[in-house]
Every structure is written in structure tokens, then in C-alpha cells.
């Protein structure tokens, strides 16, 4: 694998995480449980889709095969999407959406903090711009985890169930392979194992305050970074790609 190929792959992983999670959040638009929260979830979706656009633009530039950000976002087949499984999980109730967001926000925060120091100037710039958004997402999702966890018995039980369910996807956030290794050596990517402990401490602090508990070590799922997804992604892509597939090559 050349460094260019590794970089392209690395950028797709960043872009797909943001796009797929942004898409999931956009499904709430107009259906949020509370008007103010409908607006808040849409803000998260907009931030994530904005980030995805920037990552795809850079990926397209690195690939240099005449594809643009929309080709990358809309015209690949399922196996070519490289997001983690966590972000494609269905919205469920508001509590599940919040827990999914919470687990991802804490990861993205620590990742981008390090990518701001990347030797690749564009990666550093995208990370620096995005981290302000991510810090707000993290505050928002963490506060809600605490409110719901330490709220009523019903909310506690619901959000605990979501946490138990989604914690199967935590390890995958730290998945690394030859793509990462090559770029870490070049000072472009960062080693996720360097902040895994910090991540676990950060989420544990919130989970404790929320009077919730992470389950005992569970069997962990992965595959997303290699394009092997859960059944949910296919349906998501069916909607996402509908227009581009039905009317190929047209401009909108």
C-alpha cells in the first residue's frame, strides 16, 4: 500500500463516520421529542455533514481520479464505506441516539485533539476546525446521559439498556491496521491506543455520575473499517443514494 492509498483510506474512514452519523441524526429532523431538542439534533447533523464534506473533498483531491465529494459520499457500494459500526446503528429512542452520540463524541474529541498536530496540514486544519463543534457535541450528549441516567426509573432503565447494547461497539473505535500504522510512522495519523485509556476514563466519569454502569466485558464487534457492516447500513444507503442511483450523472 502506498502512502497515498493509505491516506485516501484514512480520510474515507473519517468522512464516513461523520456522514453516516450525520445521516442518522438527520432522520430525527421534524420528529425530535422536544422542539428545542429537535433543533439541537439538527445542529449536530449539520456539523457532521459539514465535516464529512471537508474530509471527502480532501480524499477526492488525494485520490486524484476525477471524483468529487459527492461521488465519494453517494456513489460507492456498501463494502466501500469504512465507518465504524457504532455510527450506523439505528436511532432507537432518544436515549439510544444520545448514548451512541456520547460514545462517539468522546472518541472524536480525543482523536481530533491529536490530529490537530498532524504533519498533514489539511488534516490538522480540518481537525482544528471540527474540534470546536465536537466539544459542544460532547457537552450536549454527556449532560443528557446524566439527566436520563439520573432522572426517573424509566429513563434510567431505558438508557442503561442502550448503553449495554451499544457498548459492544466501543473497542472498534480503536481499531487500527496497516493503514494507520503506515500513517502513524509518517506523523500523519495518531495512534488510537495512546488515548484509549483516557477515553475509557472520560466516559466512565460521566457514566458514574449518571448512576449507570458499563456491562462486564462483552464480546466486541468490528468490521466497519474493512467495509463489513451490520444489516442496517444497506437500508441507510438505499435512501442516501436514491437520487444518484435513479438519475445517474445528473446535477442537482
Amino acid at each position: 500500500m502506498t502512502e497515498k492509498e493509505a491516506l485516501f483510506e484514512y480520510l474515507l474512514r473519517r468522512a464516513d463516520d461523520s456522514l453516516i452519523l450525520g445521516h442518522r441524526l438527520s432522520e430525527w429532523c421534524g420528529h425530535g421529542p422536544i422542539l428545542e431538542e429537535d433543533i439541537a439534533l439538527t445542529n449536530l447533523a449539520l456539523d457532521l455533514i459539514g465535516q464529512a464534506t471537508e474530509w471527502y473533498q480532501y480524499a477526492a483531491q488525494v485520490e486524484d481520479k476525477g471524483r468529487d465529494e459527492d461521488d465519494l459520499a453517494f456513489m460507492r457500494i456498501e463494502r466501500e464505506y469504512k465507518n465504524v459500526l457504532l455510527v450506523e446503528q439505528t436511532n432507537g429512542d432518544f436515549g439510544k441516539t444520545i448514548v451512541r452520540q456520547f460514545l462517539f463524541d468522546h472518541f472524536q474529541n480525543l482523536l481530533f485533539e491529536r490530529l490537530m498536530e498532524s504533519k498533514d496540514e489539511q488534516i490538522a486544519a480540518i481537525a482544528a476546525k471540527s474540534i470546536k463543534e465536537v466539544r459542544y457535541h460532547l457537552k450536549h450528549s454527556s449532560e443528557w446521559v446524566i439527566r436520563l441516567g439520573d432522572g426517573t426509573e424509566e429513563s434510567h432503565n431505558r438508557v442503561q439498556e442502550s448503553l449495554t447494547d451499544l457498548s459492544r461497539f466501543i473497542d472498534e473505535l480503536f481499531y487500527q491496521d496497516e493503514v494507520d500504522e503506515q500513517l502513524i510512522k509518517a506523523g500523519i495519523a495518531c495512534d488510537t491506543s495512546s488515548f484509549e485509556k483516557e477515553y475509557r476514563n472520560n466516559i466512565q466519569a460521566v457514566i458514574d455520575e449518571a448512576t449507570l454502569a458499563l456491562p462486564e466485558k462483552q464480546w466486541q464487534l468490528d468490521g466497519g473499517r474493512k467495509g463489513v457492516h451490520s444489516e442496517h447500513l444497506g437500508y441507510l444507503l438505499t435512501e442516501l443514494q436514491y437520487m444518484q442511483r435513479t438519475y445517474p450523472g445528473m446535477e442537482w
Binding site: C29, P33, T42, L46, F94, I146, G151, M250
Partner: protein, 317 residues
């Protein structure tokens, strides 16, 4: 209060209105004025909220990243506008959740345009261009409405909505200048949305029971028919400019009046949709009711947490 007192208060109230002095929340106002405003502003707020749904229907299918972001931002604005308007309703002593319950029970109305389905991507353009275009016609005069909080909310809404109509027209223009399939998509969509858009201005003046009093109170500044005519006059040339045909064989520019003459609106359809028998009335209200019901446990949890924390803080101090 003595009867003369009320008469005197009403006289002073009307004098303020006639002198363009705004009425503010704690000022004395006739009950009927308050009730009219509560009805109108909450109806307006419900329209913003229900109006999210036909567009939300295409968020996950938007054709590219830019359109997806724009559509999300627009729908989000509508939620925000609903919120500004509910805030204005609350200044009149009405309770937001109670007015929302009236929407869910069918007691309160909202703009009937949102009871039509959004079937193609072109509908996203049509909603922005025609529906927001018609809404702006209604809303700009409301910035001068006699009730302060409503007028201020509308100033904000109008400022923010200025991009909504443009983005809609941009979508439609892109289609109209695109492939034959795209142009067909745009024309077909215009055919479906044109008449419902004209109905947005409400019944004709002869059948409008609230207009006269609302004009006197300066809650309303133009009649329904005046606004409808203004809309037709500005919109027809916009359609022609991109080569789309307005689906009205009676449409013709009248040199004498300087306005377009246009065909008869199907008022039967209008009243049926208002009464709840439109293509999507049930889906729209069901969707909103579901959102509220599914939000109950979250509201309760947040309240419970706030109470617990307040208690803990008290103990600590």
C-alpha cells in the same frame, strides 16, 4: 369592572392601535383581541412545526451534500420559527403544550398546504419557491402587526426566511435547465403545488369571517385576496423566466388593471383539506402526536433530574 370602564379602555386601546402604538403583553386588551391573537399565532406556530414534515420526508434522500445541508438548515429554521411563535403565544397567557394538544386533537388548525404529500425531489424546490414565497407575502406585513411580541417574532422570521425561497427557486431552476427528465419533474411538481399554494391565502374576502375585525386591530394589514393577487403577480414571471408553465388556462395579464387574471380556485377541495380530509392530514398530526408522546419520558426525566440536583445543591450549601 364597570361597563363604562371597559368602554373607556376599549376606546383607549383602539386609539393606540390607530396611532400605531404597539400593544405589549401586560397592557390591557379586549378579550377578543387576545383570543384572536392566540388563535392566529398558535396556528402560525403549528404551521411551522407541521411544515417540517413534508421537507423532512426528503432529508435522507437529498441528492448531494450541499442540498442535504441546506435542507436541514431550512427545516431547522422552521422549528426555530415555531419556537419564536410559541413564545409569543405564551406572552398572552396561553400555555405552549396546551396549544400543541389542541393541534393534536384537531381543534387547532395549521396551514393546509402541508397536508399535501412531497413526492419528488422537485417538491423540495416547489415548497421553498411557492410555499415559502406565499408565506413571505403573508409574513412581511405581520412585522408591523399591532401586537409587539408577534411583530418582533415576525421580524426575526422574515429575516431568516429570506434564504428559504431563494434556495427553493434555485432547486427548481436547476431542474428546469437540466435534462428533459428533470424538467418534467419540475413541471409535474408545479402542476401539483400551484393551486394549493394559492389556497394558502385562505378563503376569498367574501367568505373570510375574521378579516374585517383583524384589519381594524391591525393584526392583519391586507385582505386574503389582495395578498393572493400580489403572489400571482410576482410568481408568474418567475415561472416564465425558467420556462415552466403555470397550470391555469385562464391565467392572463390584464393590461387595464396591471395584474394577472387567474382561474377559479377549487374551494371544495380547500374546505375538505381544512376539515381534515386532505391527503396527509392524518399522517401529519399522527407524526407530531407521536413525537410528543415519545418525548414524555424525556421531559419527566429532565424534570426529575433538575429537582434532585436542586435538592442536593441546597443540602450542600
Amino acid at each position: 369592572m364597570k361597563e363604562q370602564n371597559i368602554e373607556e379602555l376599549e376606546r383607549q386601546f383602539q386609539e393606540k392601535i390607530d396611532n400605531e402604538i404597539k400593544i405589549e403583553p401586560k397592557d390591557w386588551m379586549p378579550d377578543a383581541y387576545r383570543e384572536t391573537l392566540i388563535r392566529q399565532i398558535s396556528q402560525h406556530a403549528h404551521s411551522e412545526i407541521v411544515g417540517q414534515l413534508p421537507e423532512g420526508n426528503w432529508v435522507t434522500r437529498a441528492p448531494n451534500l450541499r442540498r442535504k445541508a441546506v435542507l436541514l438548515a431550512k427545516i431547522q429554521d422552521e422549528a426555530g420559527h415555531g419556537l419564536y411563535l410559541y413564545s409569543a403565544v405564551e406572552t398572552l397567557g396561553a400555555d405552549r403544550e396546551e396549544t400543541i394538544d389542541d393541534l393534536h386533537s384537531g381543534k387547532a388548525k395549521y396551514s393546509s398546504i402541508f397536508n399535501y404529500p412531497s413526492l419528488t425531489w422537485a417538491d423540495m424546490g416547489m415548497i421553498g419557491w411557492l410555499v415559502d414565497g406565499a408565506a413571505i407575502m403573508n409574513q412581511v406585513p405581520l412585522c408591523r402587526c399591532s401586537y409587539g411580541p408577534y411583530a418582533r417574532a415576525m421580524v426575526r422570521v422574515c429575516k431568516e426566511e429570506s434564504f428559504h425561497q431563494r434556495q427553493g427557486y434555485e432547486i427548481v431552476a436547476k431542474l428546469a435547465n437540466g435534462t428533459p427528465e428533470q424538467k418534467e419533474m419540475a413541471q409535474e411538481s408545479l402542476n401539483r403545488w400551484w393551486w394549493p399554494a394559492l389556497m394558502m391565502f385562505g378563503p376569498s374576502d367574501a367568505d373570510s369571517k375574521h378579516t374585517e375585525q383583524s384589519m381594524k386591530w391591525k393584526i392583519k394589514r391586507h385582505t386574503n385576496d389582495e395578498l393572493r393577487q400580489m403572489f400571482v403577480d410576482v410568481t408568474v414571471p418567475q415561472a416564465e423566466h425558467i420556462g415552466l408553465k403555470v397550470p391555469d388556462n385562464d391565467l392572463k395579464f390584464n393590461e387595464e388593471t396591471g395584474h394577472y387574471d387567474f382561474g377559479e380556485i377549487n374551494w371544495d377541495e380547500f374546505w375538505q383539506v381544512v376539515k381534515g380530509y386532505g391527503p396527509c392530514n392524518k399522517e401529519r398530526v399522527d407524526a407530531r402526536r407521536k413525537a410528543k408522546e415519545e418525548g414524555m419520558w424525556i421531559r419527566e426525566a429532565a424534570n426529575a433530574y433538575a429537582e434532585k440536583r436542586a435538592k442536593r445543591n441546597k443540602k450542600a450549601s
